[in-house]
């Protein structure tokens, strides 16, 4: 068995996606609004129970969208014909990646809204990173698929502003809707790695685009039609966050933020993360990200592109 989707599998998913495109209305976006649900870390890094994870994800979604509950929120954002790609950021390993239970909770809500399991695709750059973060790789069966991009990129590069990249075929071709499921952490070059930085994992050459605190590159990536036209939701596992030393996991730099975060505005989610990371850095006597010469400049650029609200002071945090 290979680690990339076969052409037949892709074709099956793509056809479903095309059907979905025709039936879809524009999903609602709440600029500048971030929904935050409380979820305390469990002692000794034990997994969080499925029920608690489901409650937190549903509450964050409801708060982010103003919907009555998580199910209504998902129903407003996705259609049964969608093929939904959930990009998870597993670079930080098992202690600093989205918890599989939270991802499973989102997948369950998608399934409840009528999206079949084979059209819910959890993915990361490589199968290896997924496995290391505790995800069970799955190309068939189960409540959702879970696969690495591995080497399955478009044959030709595609340009947006300063970036020129081959996109994962999952993103360019297969999926009709995307979710960026990141974490809340400091990043040595970007300043913040939350929802937008996670998307570097969908192109083949992110290492080329880290100069100048990833600006304008991250904004250019988010502005590419493959992303801008499909990204419906950002979710962040902020149960444990990291304020310094990222992107790798540094236990001494983490703190129990105890939050699951959702936003339909992808820029706002990152601006919120910037705010809480700077808050924790200040509490610890560390320089702010701007003082440390890594402000997430890409947020202002993304705001200028009309992708969302990038000013941390302008973010409305709605607590569940």
């Amino acid at each position: 068995m290979t680690d990339t989707l076969s052409r037949r599998e892709l074709a099956r998913l793509a056809v479903a996606g095309l059907v979905a495109t025709a039936a879809r209305a524009a999903p609602p976006v709440r600029p500048g609004r971030v929904g935050v649900a409380r979820l305390a870390p469990s002692p000794g890094h034990a997994p969080i129970g499925a029920a608690a994870a489901e409650r937190a994800v549903a509450a964050a979604l409801a708060a982010a969208t103003g919907s009555a509950d998580g199910r209504a929120a998902v129903a407003a954002l996705f259609r049964p014909g969608d093929t939904v790609g959930i990009k998870v950021n597993c670079l930080g390993g098992p202690r600093l990646s989205p918890r599989p239970e939270l991802v499973a909770a989102l997948a369950a809500l998608l399934a409840e809204s009528g999206i079949p399991a084979h059209r819910i695709v959890v993915f990361e750059r490589s199968s290896r990173e997924l496995a290391r973060a505790g995800f069970a790789l799955r190309r068939d069966g189960g409540p959702f698929l879970c696969i690495g991009i591995d080497n399955d990129y478009d044959r030709e590069p595609s340009t947006s502003g300063e970036i020129g990249s081959c996109f994962a075929r999952l993103v360019s071709t297969t999926c009709t809707a995307l979710v960026s499921f990141g974490v809340v952490k400091d990043h040595d070059l970007a300043g913040v790695s939350a929802g937008l930085k996670n998307l570097y994992g969908v192109i083949h050459n992110p290492n080329k685009y880290h100069d100048h605190n990833c600006d304008p590159y991250l904004a250019d990536l988010a502005n590419h039609p493959f992303v801008r036209g499909k990204l419906r939701l950002t979710l962040l596992d902020g149960v444990v966050a990291q304020c310094h030393g990222g992107p790798a996991y540094r236990p001494d730099e983490t703190w129990p933020l105890g939050a699951v975060v959702a936003a339909t505005d992808p820029v706002a989610a990152d601006a919120w993360a910037w705010r809480v990371i700077d808050g924790e850095r200040t509490r610890r006597g560390l320089p702010t990200l701007a003082e440390a010469k890594r402000p997430p400049r890409f947020l202002a650029t993304a705001q200028r592109y009309g992708l969302g609200v990038g000013d941390p002071a302008a973010i409305v945090e709605v607590r569940a």
Binding site: T2, L91, P157, L189
Partner: protein
């Protein structure tokens, strides 16, 4: 003609998935067999030779002028080097993603063993991102995204020797990013009569350049333009360090040739070409071969036409008018600009068509008619 190794020799199985499954690194940590494909999720890691450690587990790469400062678990701009817990590692040592037998004229070297064949190798990765890269499918990808096979330095030189090839050429992508591999392959070849050459963008720091230069027989540098703006916008690099590299190589006595790819509207103006030629004449001398090659649309510059022949010929004339002894044209098969003429008497010494040497009348590094010394590596 390019003679590729057969797939079997190169060691790549028919399907990528098969390769990954069959050729994983042995469980005891021993390297794979020579020529065996390297599992995509386990590129060989070896401590880099040119970097320094920074506080908090970060490192600073000291290989190319980008000087990437890299946090733990991250990679430098080339994608071929990774910080693993504060130790900077190269992920491409011995990991050849291309291995071919090419005429040396293809590099192009026109003053190095004319008509000789070179065992040419490359790994994934590059430290710049030229929008016109001909080999972007290996240079602009990370090692795990490209199929590579385990060819340690000694195996490369042994393969060259077995085939009677006098040269090993680090080429196709950017040798700077696999500089440790180049160094060790060149050292291994020295004792066995296989000389090494490198085909580089010249975007390298002085110390690693000087460390490896004595092991090389020749270097070809792509001088991409003569403006910082072009380097910034089209290459994502810098001109100044490349000019420094050219001076260092020239001063070292290692044979140097320069290639300029002329791209319509971007770097081919008469003024820019003249300024470039004058810089070469003033800083490197008149005897350095300067090749102008013709652009063909590719990668991210598919909107531009091939370079008009008139532009090529104008640049060739400028170089001659400014006193360069060995200007050449590339990618214009059959043109006189492909051949070597004696700068003293005008006699055609090496007649080339494309990469083929049709006739070579050189006499021991001299013009066979007037006796003028023709610089290069001739024997």
């Amino acid at each position: 003609m390019t003679a590729a190794f057969t797939r079997r020799e190169f060691g790549i199985a028919a399907g990528a998935s098969c390769a990954a499954a069959l050729f994983r690194r042995p469980a005891d940590g021993a390297p794979p067999a020579i020529g065996a494909p390297i599992a995509a999720d386990e590129p060989p890691a070896r401590e880099a030779s040119w970097y320094r450690k920074l506080p908090e587990g970060r490192v600073e790469c000291q290989l190319c002028p980008r000087g990437c400062q890299v946090a733990d678990a991250e990679r430098g701009g080339c994608g071929a080097r990774e910080n693993r817990g504060g130790t900077y590692t190269t992920l491409v040592y011995g990991a050849a993603c291309a291995l071919h037998i090419d005429p040396i004229e293809k590099k192009p070297f026109f003053h190095v063993l004319p008509g000789a064949q070179a065992l040419s190798y490359a790994t994934a990765g590059c430290n710049v991102e030229c929008k016109f890269c001909q080999n972007w499918e290996i240079s602009q990808f990370r090692p795990e995204q490209v199929r590579s096979a385990w060819w340690p330095p000694e195996a490369l030189t042994a393969a060259a020797r077995q085939r009677g090839l006098p040269l090993l050429a680090a080429t196709y992508s950017e040798p700077t990013v696999f500089w440790e591999y180049v160094r060790d392959a060149a050292a291994a070849g020295r004792g066995s009569g296989v000389r090494s050459v490198a085909v580089s963008n010249g975007f390298i720091q002085e110390a690693p350049l000087k460390d490896v230069l004595p092991l090389l027989a020749a270097v070809k540098v792509d001088l991409k333009a003569f403006s910082e703006r072009f380097y910034r916008e089209v290459v994502r690099g810098e001109l100044k360090p490349v000019l420094k590299t050219l001076e260092v190589i020239r001063a070292s006595g290692v044979w140097l040739e320069i290639v300029v790819l002329l791209i319509p509207g971007l770097n081919d103006s008469e003024a820019e070409v003249r300024a470039l030629v004058r810089w070469v004449r003033t800083n490197l001398g008149t005897d350095v071969p300067l090749h102008f090659t013709r652009f063909h649309p590719t990668y991210r510059l598919t909107n531009l036409p091939p370079t008009p022949l008139a532009t090529m010929e104008r640049s060739w004339r400028i170089a001659k008018d400014e006193g360069l002894a060995f200007p050449y044209l590339g990618n214009v098969p059959g043109h006189a600009g492909e051949s070597t003429f004696c700068p003293a008497c005008g006699y055609r010494l090496i007649h080339r068509i494309g990469f083929e040497v049709v006739e070579n009348t050189m006499a021991g590094g001299r013009c066979s008619r007037c006796g003028r010394t023709i610089p290069g590596v001739w024997s």
